[in-house]
Symmetry: D2
Amino acid sequence: MEIQMWREILIPYQQAVQELVIKFTSIRTENNKLGKYSPVELVDGRVKKISSILDKARKKQIPLDSMEEEIEDIAGLRIICQFVEDIDKVVEIIRSRSDMEIKYEKDYISNMKQSGYKSYHIIIYYDVHTALGKKRIQAEIQIRTLAMNFWATIEHSLQYKYKHNIPAEIRERLMKAAEAAHVLDEELSTIRSEIMEAQNTFQYKSGV
Amino acid sequence: MEIQMWREILIPYQQAVQELVIKFTSIRTENNKLGKYSPVELVDGRVKKISSILDKARKKQIPLDSMEEEIEDIAGLRIICQFVEDIDKVVEIIRSRSDMEIKYEKDYISNMKQSGYKSYHIIIYYDVHTALGKKRIQAEIQIRTLAMNFWATIEHSLQYKYKHNIPAEIRERLMKAAEAAHVLDEELSTIRSEIMEAQNTFQYKSGV
Amino acid sequence: MEIQMWREILIPYQQAVQELVIKFTSIRTENNKLGKYSPVELVDGRVKKISSILDKARKKQIPLDSMEEEIEDIAGLRIICQFVEDIDKVVEIIRSRSDMEIKYEKDYISNMKQSGYKSYHIIIYYDVHTALGKKRIQAEIQIRTLAMNFWATIEHSLQYKYKHNIPAEIRERLMKAAEAAHVLDEELSTIRSEIMEAQNTFQYKSGV
Amino acid sequence: MEIQMWREILIPYQQAVQELVIKFTSIRTENNKLGKYSPVELVDGRVKKISSILDKARKKQIPLDSMEEEIEDIAGLRIICQFVEDIDKVVEIIRSRSDMEIKYEKDYISNMKQSGYKSYHIIIYYDVHTALGKKRIQAEIQIRTLAMNFWATIEHSLQYKYKHNIPAEIRERLMKAAEAAHVLDEELSTIRSEIMEAQNTFQYKSGV
């Protein structure tokens, strides 16, 4: 039965997401313990739902046997940073690790999407050991600020609702909201060094 | 020894925070299960550190035997909403519950603090059963949007660093960041009904 | 649709289980903080699956409108103790609390079931606040030692497999295993005071 | 300050324990998803306390610079199995993985300690990536049945209380309890295949 087959296929992806969430979260925990500023604020992960995988395959006409190679975000990680500048730091950390290999990167921060979307994407290869043996899987890591993430989450649900045909008026409002989000990020960047120091003194324990 | 005494005093507060986090988080879980929009996006709780309690008591000259009555935020809850409008919904829910009693409310949303701080505060009384028996404690609930919370967390650490004397230049930047945060909230409010519907269709699973 | 109706019915039970797990777990946490021995070793909870509820209703010929009253273990809690003597302590704590009301108790420790099953059962009424309002639900609390629990979990799966007709030979083996479990409990009871003291000194951090 | 130095030293061990708990727990999750019996029932991990590390170093006269090599259980994992036979299965899984390397094994099951202690120990090398770079650390994995674990936890606290000089009478009682634990394991082993099948049908969801 197809559902059971997909459940088996997804096992290593679930395992990978769990391991990667632990690994990226520990960047924050460790910096806190060392009394240092952490470029990572929050980490979140998910495995794509079977229905979404099949939708994407149908839309992009991907045959069953190349799905796992071509659908790069079956395992998805999201790393939230406080400041735009922290995003580069996180990218550097990922590049320097030997337990994951970068397939490619996409910089939607320098090159904002037309919609207002900003985010840094990295596709990695990652090895997992499961009850079925060792397997190399792919995962998509999205790195963004809290403001970018807030906006992106909302835009994503609207894209979904309007099947990628968001009405002009709503698109305009979204664009204005995106601008406000970017202003917020820029204003905070100007006092980033003060905030970083403040948070080190404070043993910062975020509310979110 | 004083530290051990404080550890005992804090036991019911820790218990209360755990119970209240479960209770408010369930508002979101339940609405999701019912396929309805949830006014609660995220819930977070903490018990004030012993050192912060003693600092506050010293500064406000509160005698030891009235500390638990006068320091109202030993147990602290934070409820994050997507939209400004959701804050009222959450306040209504709290008012209608019989397992907590409201001491008073403070509306820093209609009446923004001079610093740019916006948030809705409710002080409640709440009964807990512990190894030491039943006890009525107080808790402070802060209700705010994600943008308000982001800003407030940063401002709080700067207040701490500069011992409530933030330099004029930084204060100005903070004020501008607060304005951007409020614009972001306002823009999103104008398309709130579209977003709410979109998230209901989408079975919204937030990234943060 | 029936499944959706059951999902709604189960919401307050899920909420209750979460709250009760927190409440009973805190007995252990608090005693540890106070440097005292905890009669509670482990707490576990679950909501009965919809299919199991319907099976039970069919078998016992319970009409739909009295299911929630007659099926008393829709919400189930399990409290594991180190020693037989601790079970009484936990029963005392439950009897003394005002946030739950006892419907009745069943003592399968003094009166072991023929199968070898030992456990202390308490059915309680408990109030929960949900998105749908306040509701009084029932929950079954099973209190047992680790050895009793280990045995009971295995016996339960065999009852299920053999549809309550476990072959004589296996029943005999189970009976012998139950006896060994009881000997283990008795031997440890004889040195209970030494172990309790040891664990207090040790700041006992159990492996399971 | 020494404490801060130790906090830094322990960071990779904490990271390793978190990753290994996830990895071994997933053996159970995956087998459940595949509808297969899992040899792993429970997984638990801890990092040795700084005070215990220093005690051990003092007692064994280990110099500071070889502590990390000679104290092999700074990172400790415990894997609990339902049946004695499952222990071998878990050992096989560990031997076959390429993300951890075995330093050596100790079989206290075939060769029970004089005290009654039974358990299978494996010391592994494991690579972790931390904020401080990549590091190879050691971890001790203890594999045992639930009954062995129950007994061992109690014996450990008594050893600690009596500073490894447990009075003869208590030692005797412990020995009898160990025998009961072994009888329990043996009786259950005789019906292991029935229980395994039963648990597969049952979609076994253990209480502990």
